[in-house]
Subunit: 229 residues, 2 copies
Amino acid sequence: MPTYKYPRPALTVDCVIFGFDRQSTLKVMLIQRKLTPFQGSWALPGGFVRIDESIEAAALRELQEETGLEKLFLEQLYTFGAVDRDPRERIVTVAYYALINLEEYVVKAASDASDAAWFAIDALPPLAFDHDQILLIALNRLKNKVQYEPIGFELLPRKFTLFQLQKLYETILGHELDKRNFRKKILKMGLLRELNEVQQDVPHRAAKLYEFDEVAYEQLREKGFNFEI
Amino acid sequence: MPTYKYPRPALTVDCVIFGFDRQSTLKVMLIQRKLTPFQGSWALPGGFVRIDESIEAAALRELQEETGLEKLFLEQLYTFGAVDRDPRERIVTVAYYALINLEEYVVKAASDASDAAWFAIDALPPLAFDHDQILLIALNRLKNKVQYEPIGFELLPRKFTLFQLQKLYETILGHELDKRNFRKKILKMGLLRELNEVQQDVPHRAAKLYEFDEVAYEQLREKGFNFEI
DNA sequence: TCAAAAGTGTTCCTGGTACACCCATGC
DNA sequence: GCATGGGTGTACCAGGAACACTTTTGA
């Protein structure tokens, strides 16, 4: 017994998938459209929300179809509902953004050929629909959130160096950071577990590797600790 | 030519409308439901998104129907899409939150009788659907946002005293603030215009009135200023 | 004269910021 | 030996936090 008999907008999800590569560039995954409208253009991966799945489940499903990754950071971004955002008909889309570790992704991606590709954030092609707007908002969210929640680690391999972490912040925030101050601050928080390992195969002195300590973070957070870069 | 022939969720908007009264309590407007399900329960005001209006327009329309106010602060909160959040059928709702100045509202509200009522947020009735969850998230958003954007003023009359402003922050943040430090900080920002007026009809020494200076805020913001309490 | 809020400065301490050099490694 | 990052400590300064008393007004 449908309670509302008027025409309904269609409902989709779109995902802004961020990755951070070895060259310290922030990238986004895009899909080349095979159909009209915007045939041949690049667009955010996405699709319709099925009647029997939650919107978050729909986003996860899309994400898995595209990346093959099971566990990843996923957060709802914003819902876009301008009347004419899709030229075909009324479509409302709930945008999500995801953070993935490119090193793990690359392995899986090699297996199945796909129409997906990674683009550096500062060298994007024109995007279909209002996807440039969505991407901009996602980027802003990332910039803000990375400063007060420890989500940056989601973009790095499990074991990383302090230099990699610093470059990550510099890239996302768009400005340089002082090495000594950065290390002092991040180590003082007590969220990093220093490993008895160093980098391998680097053309310079090998750096110590660290892991993000989620348990320690949870414990500190319960005591009122706030992450802040 | 609909591009997607499968069943679609219905799409609604729900609004969390906050007000701040003369007794320094934070309140929310709720509507008593006339129909099943949850007949007689209190719920957030909301309604279906029409096929030819944007979601924000739908939220504004609902808001105006309920409050009669034209200009108010309105921001998208989050989209709720659990499969069973409505017992009748699949309904996805885009939640917004609004901040209104209760003094202005009360005048209008007196004119048309309504099933709406204001509840202090620490004395809420049980709510229909997942509206308690929505309200909780709205409250968190308000708590956070009020600290780094000057939106608190939306809840006050145009002319207010520093004491009122301080009480507003104390109420929303849930802890007391030091009077001298608060005044020092807020005045130093240069966002308040001191008026040549004082309170009227108060049973104690009358305080100076201030106005929020939006122009000054915009100018400062362009120079990189960040509001912060 | 009492109650309620208005109004006002100083001290201390923490935490941010600026800053430069030697070390280890691979090529 | 050169390039690349690894790794480390100090001094200064600004801004947050703690804190108490006198004044004004109306009831």
